[in-house]
C-alpha cells in the first residue's frame, strides 16, 4: 500500500498549486498515515469495527489518486422532489455545483480554504489521510442573524467511473450569531467498492441553530466514514439525525464540544440493516461548561447477518455543574445471525449532574405480535407495525416537519 500511497500522493500534488509549506504539511500527514495505516481493532475506538480488515475483505487494494481535471455531468434525477432546497453536489468527491438559489447572496459566504489543515482533538489516522489527499475545501459562512429560508442538501454522488478508490472530502461550516442552517447529507451511489472519508467541521456561535440530517438509504457496496466535529458557543443548539442503512459499511462519528453555557446537543440515529451490512455510530459529547444539555437516542433493527455498533460517550468536565446528559440505545435482532454491540460510556468529574444511560437489545416481543394477530393482522403485518413504531420513535424527534416527512417517506413509514 505504501508505494501506491506515495505514487498517488505525488500525482495529486502535481495538479495543485500549493505553497512549499502546504506541501510539507500534507507530506507530514501522509507519513503519519503510512506509519499508522487504517485503524484496526487493536484501537479501542475501533474495537467493534476493524476498518483495516473490512477494507481488505471488501475492496482489496485501494488507490488514492482522483483525477479532478474533467467535470462530471450533474444527473438531476437524483435531486429530491417536492422540497425546495439549496444544493451542493459532489460527484466522485469533486464539487460540481454550489447553488444557494433561494438565499440572499450577501448573507452567505463561500470561502476557499483548501490550504488549511484539520486539527481535531481525537484524531485518528483517517484524519491524516483526509488532510493528505483533500484538494479542494470550502468553508460556508452563514452571516450574523441570517436564517436560511430553505434547507441545504449536499448530494454525495458517485458514478460507475470509479472503482476501488479512496475519496476524501472536507467541508467547514460557520454559523455566526443568531443564524440557523438546516443541512441534509444525501448519499447516492452508483459505484461499488470505494472508500469515502468525509470530515466536517461545524462552528456554532452564540444562539446559532444547526440541524444536520445524514441520510444513507440507497443500497450500495461502498464503505463510508464520516466525522463531524461540532463546536458550540453559548445558547446554541445542534441536532444530528443519522439514518444508517444503505452502505456495506458505514461509521459515523460525532464529536461535540459544548463550550458555552446553555448549549445543547441532540444526536438521534436509526440503524435499519440487512444482509451482512456493518454500521456504527460513535458519539462523544463533551460537556465543558455548566448548564449544558445533551440527549441521544439510537434505535436499530437488524435483519439477516447484519451488525450494528453504538459507542456513545458523555464526558462531563469538573466545571460542568448542572449538566443534563441522557443516552439510550435499543436494538431489535430479527435473525439468529444478527449482532448488536454497544458501549455506552459515562466519564464524569462533576457532582451536581444528572447523567444516565440505558441500553437494551433483544428480539421482537412475541406478546405484542400475539396481541396484534388476535386483532386480525397477519404475522407479517404485525411485525411491520411493531418495527415501524419502534423506529418512528426516533424519527419523531426530528424537529423540522418538512424534513421529518421526507425521511418518513424514505423509510416507508406511514402514520
Amino acid at each position: 500500500m505504501k508505494e501506491q500511497l506515495q505514487k498517488d500522493f505525488d500525482n495529486s500534488i502535481k495538479n495543485l498549486s500549493l505553497s512549499q509549506k502546504d506541501i510539507e504539511i500534507k507530506k507530514f500527514c501522509l507519513d503519519n498515515f503510512i506509519d499508522k495505516g487504517f485503524p484496526n481493532k487493536k484501537e479501542e475506538d475501533w474495537k467493534f469495527s476493524d476498518l483495516n480488515q473490512i477494507i481488505k475483505n471488501n475492496i482489496g487494494e485501494l488507490s488514492f489518486y482522483n483525477d479532478q481535471a474533467s467535470t462530471n455531468k450533474v444527473d438531476t434525477s437524483v435531486f429530491v422532489d417536492g422540497l425546495e432546497h439549496n444544493k451542493i453536489v459532489f460527484i466522485n468527491g469533486r464539487i460540481e455545483k454550489i447553488d444557494f438559489e433561494y438565499e440572499k447572496k450577501d448573507q452567505i459566504e463561500i470561502i476557499d480554504q483548501s490550504e488549511t489543515i484539520n486539527e481535531f482533538q481525537n484524531s485518528n489516522s483517517l484524519s491524516d489521510l483526509n488532510n493528505a489527499f483533500t484538494n479542494k475545501c470550502f468553508k460556508i459562512l452563514v452571516k450574523k442573524g441570517y436564517q436560511l429560508a430553505k434547507p441545504l442538501i449536499i448530494y454525495h454522488t458517485t458514478n460507475s467511473k470509479i472503482w476501488s478508490k479512496n475519496i476524501n472530502l472536507r467541508l467547514n461550516f460557520e454559523l455566526d450569531k443568531d443564524s440557523s442552517l438546516r443541512l441534509i447529507d444525501l448519499f447516492n451511489d452508483a459505484s461499488e467498492k470505494n472508500f469515502l472519508n468525509i470530515f466536517y467541521n461545524l462552528k456554532l456561535k452564540e444562539n446559532a441553530v444547526l440541524k444536520n440530517y445524514k441520510v444513507d438509504k440507497f443500497e450500495n457496496k461502498n464503505i463510508k466514514y464520516s466525522f463531524n466535529n461540532i463546536d458550540q458557543d453559548k445558547n446554541s443548539i445542534s441536532e444530528t439525525f443519522i439514518l444508517s442503512s444503505g452502505s456495506n459499511f458505514s461509521k459515523n462519528e460525532i464529536n461535540c464540544n459544548l463550550n458555552g453555557v446553555y448549549a445543547s446537543a441532540f444526536v438521534n440515529g436509526v440503524f435499519s440493516l440487512n444482509n451482512d451490512k456493518h454500521h456504527e455510530i460513535r458519539s462523544i459529547i463533551n460537556h465543558l461548561t455548566e448548564n449544558t444539555k445533551s440527549y441521544q437516542l439510537i434505535k436499530s433493527v437488524l435483519e439477516q447477518s447484519s451488525k450494528a455498533v453504538y459507542q456513545g460517550k458523555i464526558f462531563v468536565n469538573s466545571d460542568a455543574q448542572k449538566t443534563d446528559g441522557y443516552q439510550l440505545s435499543k436494538a431489535i435482532l430479527l435473525n439468529k445471525e444478527s449482532e448488536f454491540n454497544a458501549k455506552p460510556e459515562l466519564e464524569i468529574y462533576a457532582d451536581d449532574v444528572k447523567c444516565s444511560h440505558g441500553s437494551a437489545s433483544g428480539s421482537l416481543n412475541e406478546d405484542s405480535i400475539f396481541y396484534l394477530m388476535s386483532r386480525g393482522l397477519s404475522y407479517q403485518q404485525s411485525r411491520e407495525l411493531l418495527i415501524n413504531g419502534f423506529l418512528l420513535d426516533v424519527v419523531e424527534k426530528i424537529t423540522d416537519s418538512e424534513i421529518k416527512n421526507l425521511i418518513k417517506n424514505m423509510l416507508g413509514i406511514k402514520e
Binding site: 430479527l334 439468529k336 454497544a342 466519564e347 464524569i348 441500553s359 428480539s363
Partner: protein, 480 residues
C-alpha cells in the same frame, strides 16, 4: 457523644494499620527461575506443580504490563519485590494451634479473627493467610466428617493432587493476562475448597488475608470446586499494615460449579488505602473467575471494596452450562486519592443462561472510580437474559465516576437491559435527615447505606454488619 459517633472516631484511622514484628523467611529478592524453584521447593511441591509454574513464567516473560486501565500507576519493578515471605515459625508446619507462634495468634486476635475454636466466630470456618503462607485453618474436623476439603492450597497439592491437577488453571489458564500469569508462576498460598456431591456446606467458609512483611507481593491462589448438587458460601477479608510504599497484591481465584451446584463468594476488601495524600497503600490487581460448568449451576459474587490505593479487578462468570446463573453485586467506595477500576464479565455460552449485575460506586475526595463491565451473549446462548444496573454517587467536584460497559449481543432470542445513573446526594434528602436530628455525617452514612442496601443484603449476616460500618467509616471526612 453517642456510641456510634464514638465508634466512628475510634476507627477514624485505619485500625488494621499495625504491623507484627515477626521473624521471616524470605525468598531472595527478584523474579527468576531460581526464585520459582525456591518457592516450589520450600513448599515441597511435586514435579508437575513446578512445571506448571515454569510454564507460566515462560509465558510471563513475553507479556507486557497492560495499560488500558483508567487508574495509572508508576511502573512496578518486578525485580525489586520479595515473592515469598513467611514467619520463621511456620517452617515446620505446627500441628495444632497450641504450637502456633503466639505473636501470630495475637495478630489475628487484634484483627478480630480469633483462631482458637472456643472463641470462634459463630459458624464460620477460617483459613488465615499471613503473607505467603496459610497459618491456621479452623473447624477442619467438623468439615472432614462431611467429606468437605477446606485447607491451604499448598496442602491440597500434597494430599489431593488429582483434584488440584484437574482443576487448577482450568478457569484461569497459565496463558492468561499479565498479572494472572505472574500469579500462576509465583503463587504462594491460598485456600482450597472441595464440596462433594450433594453436600450443603454447614457453615460459612472464610479466608482472612493479611500482608505483613514490607516490600512483598502477596500472590495467593484460591480454588473452589462445588461438585454436583452442592452448595457453599465463601467469605474473604483482607487487611494490611500502613506503609509508605505501595504493595502489590495479585491473587487468582478460580471457582468451578458442576451440575446443580451453587457457589456464593463474598469479599470485604479493606486493604490499607494509603494516607490522605495518597501515599502508600495496596495495589489490588486480582483475577477472579468462576465457571458454571454444569447445568443449572450458579455463581454469585458479592464484593464490598473500600480499601486499596488502586483496585483493579473484574470478578467474572463464564456461563457454560445450560440454565446456569451468574450474579455480581458490588459496592465500591473510594475516598481521598484512592482509585478503582472494577466491574464484571458475564460470558453467556449455554442456553437459558441468566446474569444479573448490580453495581454501586461511591466516590469522594479526590478519588476516581470506574465501572467497567462486559456482557457477551454468544450466538449459541439462546433465550439468555442479562440485567445490569450501575449507579454512581459523587461527593464533591474533585472526584470522578465513570461507567464503561461493553455490551455484545449475538443472539436474537436473548435480551439485554442495561441502565446507569450518576448523581449526588440530594439536598432535600440531607435536609430531611438533619431536620430529624442527625448530624451531616450520620445523614450521609444513612443515605449511602440505603443506596447500597441492595448489595449489602446479599452478604452473610456477620459480614453485612461489618460492611455497613465500613461504608460509614470509608466516607469519613468527605462531607461538611
Amino acid at each position: 457523644m453517642d456510641n456510634r459517633q464514638k465508634e466512628i472516631n475510634n476507627l477514624k484511622d485505619y485500625k488494621y494499620g499495625f504491623s507484627t514484628d515477626i521473624e521471616n523467611i524470605q525468598a531472595p529478592k527478584g523474579l527468576n527461575e531460581d526464585v520459582i524453584k525456591f518457592i516450589s521447593n520450600i513448599k515441597k511441591e511435586p514435579e508437575w506443580m513446578l512445571e506448571f509454574r515454569l510454564k507460566a513464567f515462560e509465558r510471563f516473560k513475553v507479556l507486557k504490563e497492560p495499560n488500558w486501565q483508567k487508574p495509572k500507576f508508576p511502573k512496578i519493578d518486578y525485580q525489586d519485590l520479595y515473592y515469598y515471605s513467611a514467619p520463621k515459625s511456620m517452617k515446620d508446619k505446627p500441628k495444632s494451634l497450641d504450637e502456633l507462634d503466639p505473636k501470630l495468634l495475637e495478630t489475628y486476635k487484634k484483627l478480630g479473627i480469633p483462631l482458637q475454636e472456643q472463641a470462634r466466630l459463630n459458624g464460620i470456618a477460617v483459613d488465615a493467610v499471613f503473607d505467603s503462607v496459610s497459618v491456621a485453618t479452623t473447624f477442619k474436623d467438623e468439615l472432614t466428617k462431611q467429606g468437605i476439603i477446606f485447607c491451604p492450597i499448598s496442602e491440597a497439592i500434597q494430599s489431593h493432587p488429582e483434584l488440584v491437577k484437574k482443576y487448577l488453571g482450568s478457569v484461569i489458564p497459565t496463558s492468561d493476562h499479565f498479572f494472572a500469569t505472574l500469579n500462576s508462576a509465583v503463587f504462594t498460598d491460598g485456600s482450597f475448597v472441595y464440596i462433594p456431591e450433594g453436600v450443603r456446606c454447614p457453615m460459612e467458609l472464610s479466608t482472612y488475608f493479611r500482608i505483613n512483611a514490607s516490600n512483598t507481593g502477596q500472590f495467593e491462589r484460591t480454588l473452589i470446586i462445588a461438585d454436583k448438587g452442592s452448595y457453599v458460601s465463601y467469605l474473604e477479608g483482607c487487611t494490611a499494615p500502613m506503609r509508605d510504599e505501595n504493595q502489590l497484591h495479585a491473587a487468582n481465584v478460580e471457582l468451578i460449579a458442576l451440575d446443580d451446584a451453587e457457589i456464593k463468594y463474598s469479599t470485604v476488601q479493606n486493604w490499607y488505602p494509603g494516607d490522605q495524600d495518597g501515599k502508600g497503600g495496596i495495589y489490588n490487581f486480582v483475577t477472579k473467575r468462576g465457571l458454571c460448568k454444569g447445568k443449572n449451576s450458579k455463581i454469585s459474587w458479592t464484593q464490598v471494596e473500600t480499601g486499596s490505593a488502586i483496585t483493579w479487578k473484574y470478578p467474572s462468570c463464564i456461563l457454560k452450562g445450560d440454565n446456569s446463573v451468574g450474579e455480581f453485586y458490588s459496592i465500591a467506595i473510594t475516598n481521598n486519592h484512592q482509585k478503582a477500576d472494577t466491574g464484571t464479565k458475564m460470558i453467556h455460552l449455554g442456553k437459558n443462561t441468566k446474569s444479573k449485575i448490580i453495581s454501586k460506586g461511591i466516590s469522594a475526595g479526590s478519588s476516581d472510580m470506574t465501572y467497567r463491565g462486559l456482557v457477551d451473549i454468544s450466538s449459541k446462548a439462546k433465550n439468555s437474559t442479562n440485567y445490569t444496573q450501575c449507579d454512581s454517587l459523587l461527593m464533591g467536584n474533585k472526584c470522578g465516576a465513570h461507567t464503561v460497559p461493553y455490551i455484545k449481543n449475538k443472539n436474537s432470542e436473548s435480551n439485554i437491559a442495561h441502565e446507569a445513573t450518576t448523581s449526588k446526594i440530594s439536598e432535600e434528602q440531607l435536609h430531611y435527615c438533619q431536620q430529624r436530628g442527625l448530624n451531616p455525617e450520620e445523614a450521609v452514612g444513612l443515605i449511602v447505606n440505603g443506596f447500597c442496601k441492595e448489595v449489602l443484603q446479599q452478604l452473610p449476616m456477620e459480614f453485612a454488619v461489618e460492611a455497613q460500618k465500613l461504608v460509614g467509616i470509608s466516607l469519613e471526612g468527605s462531607v461538611g
